[in-house]
Amino acid sequence: MNITSQMSHALVVFVSAIFTQNILLSYFLGLCPFIGVSREVKTSFGLGLAVIFVMTSTCLLNWVAYQVVLEPLGLHFFRFIMFIIIIAAFVQFVEMVIERYSPSLYQRLGIFLPLITVNCAILGASLFMVIRDYSFVATVGYGLGSGIGWFLAIMAMAGIRQRLTNERIPRGLQGPGITLIIAGLMALAFIGFTGVLQGN
């Protein structure tokens, strides 16, 4: 593939990761923080930003690790362990650096970073990128797009839930119950994007 077609492929992957193949609303990955932290727009914003950053960076790191180490040595089956180790180490490292050099950013993201280590959407994105055999550029687009997609989904959910705080919800549906129903409706809405793009 030449550069232009690579770029356009990456762009398609990027947009489709946000809309048609939203990692949260199409694959239902990263649901626990999605339900747990989506009570307020402010905290959702912090978590969403952290996810975008970590997802993009770890996709790249994992792509390199996979292509350079695992693939040549024929150790594909180790990718689960490899990826999760790399994600954990990366998150630790980033947390340390942010805490040291940008206390204000640490205030906003700091406590969400450790949460992200166990966010299955992050690991999921890395695994999808391997399964779909993305190039390096496409991986950038995919990581960034998936992160933004997740960010959009949690922001939308937080906005809805904030509006719901003063509504009278039947007792059995309060909390996670109504949240899951909303998530389902949002997923249905996102199906509307299918067909806009054929990005893989």
Binding site: F78, E99, I111
Partner: protein, 367 residues
């Protein structure tokens, strides 16, 4: 096959080890905030290497803040005031802090990181609690069932406490008890003399510790106490003070009176001392001396029945009756009660009837 497994394990392990090494090295660089000075209560200052949380930094300095969860931020016990240097409140602390605590800079020590110089406030009692080895140097009979024990501190040689606080006295195993027990006794001595504590102990029939003190403890014996504890103390307002205490409940009151004398406190003060019989009154001479030395202090002994009119001038009846008869400005007073739960509950009821607000009644129940 075997080779493949070895290679696979080796590769994954070495990458994991490499990442761990990178983290350790970068922690050394990034999480090292250099020496930070921590000032406690504007009195004590020490320097610690920054980077760890405040709770564990204090622990290495042998300052123990209570914590049930071991610093994971789930118990909310390690609260202390961080006046400077803590940065904004963390979302992990929010669930444990009330609005008024947030306003007065209360933080969770396990969540606050030491990144720069800090100014913190630790309740004095947490700072000062430790074990003291003492020598019993004097035992005075106050009444037929009350003695005053004078304990000279041997190691450490001095104690800082707030008048009204108590210590725990260690009763070693002896003939009538096979195990060590601790019992709490209020400090009664003059707080100006930091090298000595005095305890007023009333014999409880069958009590392990009091029996030991009355029958076994001799002048010259070694005694161990720890403390000081408790938040029964004189407020620093100007409101008139009412003390109500009977028997060994006199101990913290006596200590407070010494303190008032030492600090030239001019608050209007009255002390109702209740007893069943005239011979149960004790330290009356000392109280009369306080009446002369303090600007505005009145001592009112109250006995149930006055059989022998030759004894000191006292009120007759229950101490609560005397209070309701005698006390005029109950609404503006602060009341400090000390003694048996029955006496305290009765006194609180009377004071409320007279118009003293709930938050102006302080007590130390001897249970």
């Amino acid at each position: 096959m075997f080779l493949a497994i070895v290679i696979a394990v080796a590769v994954v392990s070495s990458i994991g080890a490499g990442l761990a090494a990178v983290l350790v090295v970068s922690e050394h660089f990034f999480a090292n905030y250099g020496p930070c000075s921590i000032t406690i209560n504007n009195e004590r200052e020490f320097t610690a290497n920054g980077g760890k949380d405040l709770l564990s930094t204090l622990t290495t300095e042998k300052i123990f803040i209570p914590s049930a969860c071991g610093g994971r931020g789930t118990c909310g016990l390690c609260k202390l005031k961080v006046l400077e240097g803590a940065g904004p409140l963390l979302p992990t602390e929010e669930p444990y802090l009330e609005q008024d605590e947030r306003e007065s800079n209360v933080r969770l020590a396990c969540q606050v990181k030491v990144r720069n110089d800090l100014r913190i406030e630790i309740p004095q009692e947490l700072l000062a609690v430790r074990e003291y080895t003492c020598k019993c140097t004097d035992i005075t009979n106050l009444t037929h069932d009350m003695k005053q024990f004078r304990l000279e501190l041997v190691e450490p040689k001095s104690i800082d406490y707030i008048p009204g606080q108590y210590v725990q006295l260690l009763t070693p195993a002896y003939e009538k008890s096979s195990e060590e027990v601790y019992r709490a006794y209020s400090i009664s001595s003059d707080p100006a003399d930091k090298g000595v504590i005095e305890l007023i102990i009333r014999l409880v029939p069958g009590g392990i510790c009091t029996t030991y003190c009355f029958e076994y403890l001799k002048v010259g014996d070694e005694v161990k106490v720890n403390g000081p504890y408790g938040d029964f103390r004189l407020s620093d307002t100007y409101a008139p003070v009412v003390f109500i205490a009977g028997g060994s409940g006199m101990a913290p009151i006596k200590c407070m009176l010494h303190h008032m004398k030492n600090t030239g406190n001019t608050r209007k003060t009255v002390y109702y001392f209740g007893a069943n019989e005239p011979w149960e009154l004790c330290l009356v001479d000392l109280m009369r001396k306080f009446e002369k030395e303090l600007p505005d202090f009145r001592f009112v002994p109250v006995v149930c029945e006055l059989k022998d009119s030759a004894v000191q001038a006292c009120e007759v009846g229950l101490v609560t009756e005397a209070v309701s008869r005698d006390l005029e400005n109950a609404e503006e007073c602060e009341a400090y009660l000390c003694g048996s739960p029955g006496m305290i509950d009765a006194a609180i009821a009377v004071l409320k009837e007279l118009g003293t607000a709930d938050d102006r009644i302080f007590y130390d129940k001897f249970e």
